[in-house]
């Protein structure tokens, strides 16, 4: 009994959460020939991982405990951490929860989504390996362990990108990802090595204790290397083309993980090194670095997305654009900003997951994601359409969905920062964020017109709604989108504020592992107070009353008494108006829908078009240039 109690002690849950995923992966590799066994094993391990993460909410997020776990009970000896450690503070758990949720939903979706593919055993093995890698990375308390996990997840992600290697471009995308991803991993490894040489430790907490006192050329270089390395994992500019290729080729359930979770691990890494290891966020210049790259990602990727004509590539660019929001908000280094950024991270995982799953549903049923070949699917896939629209409204920040709540906080945080610091540059960030938001809306209007509304091409006449399992998975995301949108106060109070508070409390993080945190720089985040007020529930209530009143009036006035075509052949009266001609298929192409906008920006778009050559050498060069610039930057300012 005592032993069972010891096993079920929540102190062990972090390692369990990682272990069950890897264990599932290995078991499927060994015994996954049978379809039922495979599915049960996969479902069990993702459910268990979610369960362990949720079980940690009470002690860590609500009570603020920091769980430190030495593997094999190898506690530090002689003041130096030898063993591998897990350290779970509110920030780690926050990301772990995101991971577990996304992994769970995408796993449920996979079961029916992948049923037409061969090699399902390999798929699940790699899938769980990827998930375990991300989970391990965010829960790890050891820089080298983080690197290991980054390697595991990168290779799993590369393999999964090329999983459907019959799809055109899949192998190429995987190759690009492999090259640039390895450059990123190498950066992390070299950065880790430099830090180890300087401080003789790899433990995050001890590094956080020692590194700020050791700022010399070597650690500055390490900062640049780590920053760029985690930047590749988050796909922030200039690594965004990789994401586009990878998402376009990978199965949708993998895109959910890459976009919703893998990019978050990059953001997590950046937060850990800037706020914790180097404690450099107090410097205006480092804030500038994050905000600048964030805003650049935000704007460049949203304009790139406007020019796409493939559903999943478009979503991929939006994914990075939203990551730009997160990075910008985190870079503001105010409590409201970090809280807003983390809130947006939650929302990004949810709505992006939903959108990728909807894209996957379209691909599963129609066999294409080309916006110019689709149209009118709302009549054939009504549920998918509604779910997609929820996701589209969320990402575009239409109230009362969740994207609005977090973006609204980001605007306030950036504008407040501008006013408080007197720096007019932050004002520009607010404006860019607001404009990006409306461009996002434009791009999703395009998708909804080209895929779900408009006219149905005759070859899609036999399309059916996707199976209930896939709809169920999308429904979970949609429901979460609505909940997090309607109750922003609960989300901020129970999820983002504890996590944001953890970001600003380096000292407890160091001391939880038994090191001396007295020298840690105390960053003041300020209050979590918003300037405005946003009460989605009462807003929705008012909207519902208004809508109800209008509907009652309308129905009483025989609004719904319409004449519609009831014959199988369409009479003239019910045909679309074509200036008198017979109705014919003339769906507006998706790729150039907003030419009125693009025409004015043609110089910019042409330049971008030339820049994104699709050649891996170029992208590798970008990585090198980025590294050089960031190194120069950190050598000068840090």
């Amino acid at each position: 009994m005592n032993m069972l109690g010891n096993i079920l002690n929540y102190q062990h849950f972090p390692i369990y959460a990682i272990m069950v995923l890897f264990l599932g992966s290995f078991l499927i590799a060994a015994f996954g020939e049978n379809r039922a066994v495979r599915n049960v094993l996969a479902l069990l391990s993702i459910t268990a991982a979610l369960g362990f993460a949720v079980a940690l909410v009470k002690p860590v997020l609500l009570e603020g405990e920091i769980i430190s776990y030495w593997m094999g009970a190898r506690e530090p000896a002689g003041g130096y951490a030898i063993g591998i450690a897990l350290e779970v503070d509110a920030l780690s758990l926050f990301f772990a929860l995101l991971v577990a949720t996304a992994v769970f939903v995408s796993g449920v979706y996979s079961i029916q989504y992948m049923n037409r593919d061969h090699n399902e055993k390999e798929y699940y093995t790699l899938y769980l390996l990827l998930c375990g890698g991300v989970m391990g990375m965010v829960l790890s308390g050891d820089l080298f362990n983080m690197f290991i996990m980054v390697e595991i997840l990168t290779f799993a992600a590369v393999a999964l990108t090329a999983f459907r290697n019959t799809v055109r471009g899949a192998v190429e995308a995987a190759f690009k990802y492999l090259v640039v991803g390895c450059m990123g991993s190498t950066c992390i490894l070299v950065g880790t090595a430099i830090l180890y040489a300087q401080t003789h430790t790899l433990n995050l907490a001890q590094l956080a204790q020692l590194v700020p006192g050791e700022v010399n050329t070597a650690t500055k270089l390490a900062f640049a290397l780590l920053f760029v390395g985690f930047g590749t994992k988050a796909f922030i500019v200039p690594f965004h083309p990789l994401a586009a290729d990878a998402h376009g080729a990978a199965p949708a359930s993998i895109s959910v993980i890459i976009s919703g979770v893998l990019t978050k691990s990059g953001i997590y890494g950046i937060i850990r090194i800037t706020y914790f290891l180097f404690q450099s966020m107090g410097l205006g210049t480092v804030q500038f670095l994050l905000v600048f790259i964030g805003s650049l990602s935000m704007f460049v990727c949203v304009t790139m997305a406007l020019a796409q004509h493939d559903f999943k590539r478009l979503l991929a660019f939006h994914s990075i654009s939203q990551i730009g929001y997160v990075l910008t908000a985190v870079g503001l280094c105010t409590a409201l900003g970090v809280s807003a950024g983390l809130y947006h991270a939650i929302n990004h995982t949810l709505f992006k997951g939903l959108l990728f799953l909807a894209a996957g549903a379209v691909l599963h049923e129609t066999g294409t994601t080309d916006l110019n070949k689709l149209g009118g699917l709302a009549k054939k896939m009504p549920h998918t359409t509604v779910l997609f629209l929820i996701g589209a409204f969320s990402i575009s920040g239409v109230p009362p969905f969740n994207g609005f709540a977090s973006k609204w906080m980001i605007y306030q945080a950036s504008y407040q920062k501008a006013v408080e610091s007197g720096n007019i540059g932050f004002l520009l960030v607010t404006i860019i964020a607001l404009v990006t938001s409306v461009l996002t809306l434009a791009s999703f209007v395009k998708v909804s017109h080209s895929v779900f509304f408009g006219q149905l091409p005759p070859e899609l006449e036999n399309v059916r709604e996707v199976s209930w399992g896939m709809r169920f998975a999308m429904g979970i995301f949609a429901l979460l989108c609505i909940i997090t949108g309607l109750f922003p106060n609960l989300v901020t109070a129970y999820l983002t504020e504890p996590a944001a508070a953890a970001v600003f409390s380096v000292k407890p993080y160091i001391e939880a592992m038994g090191f001396d945190g007295s020298a840690a720089a105390a960053l003041e985040g300020g209050s979590f107070q918003c300037v405005g007020a946003w009460d989605p529930v009462s807003w929705l209530l008012v909207l519902c009353i208004a809508l109800l009143a209008i509907t009652i009036v309308a129905v009483a006035g025989k609004y719904d008494n319409v004449s519609r075509c009831r014959l199988s052949t369409v009479e003239d009266k019910y045909q679309l108006f074509y200036g008198g001609e017979k109705q014919e298929l003339s769906q507006l192409g998706g790729d150039d829908l907003f030419w009125g906008f693009k025409h004015n920006w043609r110089a910019y778009f042409n330049y971008m078009h030339r820049l994104h050559s699709g050649i891996v050498n170029d992208y590798a060069l970008w990585a090198v240039v980025d590294l050089a610039l960031v190194t120069l930057f950190s050598l000068i300012v840090l």
Partner: protein
């Protein structure tokens, strides 16, 4: 008991003033005044001021045809959602000192809510399946993008001006902006707010889709764009929405720049609001309509992102340095 009375009071706000009934009457009257004024400026007799009411009731009596290619539910529902969203916007905009729902009237929220009616129209048009609607929605979306940047700048300028005046640094709450103006006089009396007010006057016709920024609904070239397949009552609701949108934007102008004129008596305030809205409509919609030709969509974009944005930006910079 008090809860019941309170609920009834809020229901009254939603249904009567400043909600549905007020929106309906005032919006339609504004639209009629606009048409009459344009006619007068063009030396015509013009339609009666009540013409929009006739149009609306006529459309209610017409047959509603749903094309076979249309997605019926979205097609029928989106006009109602758009109208409901506009009524809600009107509820958030303070009428001088009085706000129906003060806690949630925030200018960023208003900025986003203004997208909802346009979005409803876009989705309704897209659901009809017509290629004209496709072209229309493309242009409508570009018009929205065009107006968004200057509108953002104007709102941020107001937020900064009021915020630094009341000492919080920033103020996003519309009811606080209204209160500030009641005490300290209208914002338009400040030098820094003059360009912003001018920019806002130019934004109003773009947001409502009035001439010359009505490329999205150009009836002579793309058959009224997104509305091409609408007939009968849903079309009437869209026309009503257009009228209410004119009211919402003009009363937003009043709330932002002319808030100091309130008398404190609700009935009088409502009347004053309407008169001011009519004046602004005359200045920003009718006057511009009467002497300009329709712009092409890329011209609209260019115009808003250069001239109007510059005006708003000047205002923002002036506000930043506390003028």
């Amino acid at each position: 008991m008090t809860i019941v009375i309170e609920a009834l009071q809020y229901l009254g706000y939603v249904l009567i003033f400043p909600g549905f009934l007020f929106c309906f009457l005032a919006g339609m009257l504004l639209c009629g005044i606009d048409r009459k004024l344009v006619a007068k400026m063009q030396k015509r007799v013009g339609p009666p001021v009540l013409q929009p009411f006739y149009d609306f009731f006529k459309l209610c009596g017409k047959e509603t045809i749903v094309p076979a290619a249309a997605e019926r539910i979205t097609f029928m529902l989106s006009p109602l959602v758009g109208l409901a969203a506009l009524v809600v916007i009107q509820l958030f905009i303070p009428v001088f000192g009085f706000t129906a729902f003060s806690g949630i009237g925030d200018i960023i929220v208003i900025l986003y809510l203004l997208l909802v009616p346009a979005l409803a129209m876009i989705l309704g048009g897209a659901a009809s399946g017509s290629p004209y609607a496709g072209v229309g929605l493309s242009r409508e979306m570009v018009t929205i993008i065009s107006c968004e940047l200057p509108l953002v700048l104007v709102l941020l300028a107001v937020a900064k001006t009021v915020g630094s005046a009341i000492g919080t640094g920033l103020c996003f709450s519309l009811s606080e902006i209204a209160e500030y103006q009641l005490v300290n006089g209208s914002l338009i009396t400040k030098i820094s707010m003059l360009p912003a007010a001018a920019a806002m006057l130019l934004i109003i016709p773009g947001e409502t889709g009035n001439h010359p920024f009505d490329a999205a609904e150009a009836e002579t070239e793309i058959c009224e764009g997104m509305l091409a397949e609408y007939s009968g009552a849903p079309l009437g609701v869209f026309k009503l929405s257009h009228a209410v949108k004119m009211l919402s934007l003009t009363s937003l102008f009043v709330a932002l720049f002319l808030g100091g004129l309130g008398t404190g008596i609700m009935a009088l305030d409502a009347l004053l609001l309407f008169v001011l809205c009519a004046l602004i409509t005359a200045a920003s919609i009718s006057f511009v309509h009467a002497f300009t030709a329709r712009l092409k969509i890329e011209q609209i974009f260019k115009y808003y992102w250069t001239v109007v944005s510059l005006l708003a930006l000047i205002s923002l910079v002036l506000a930043w340095y506390g003028l």
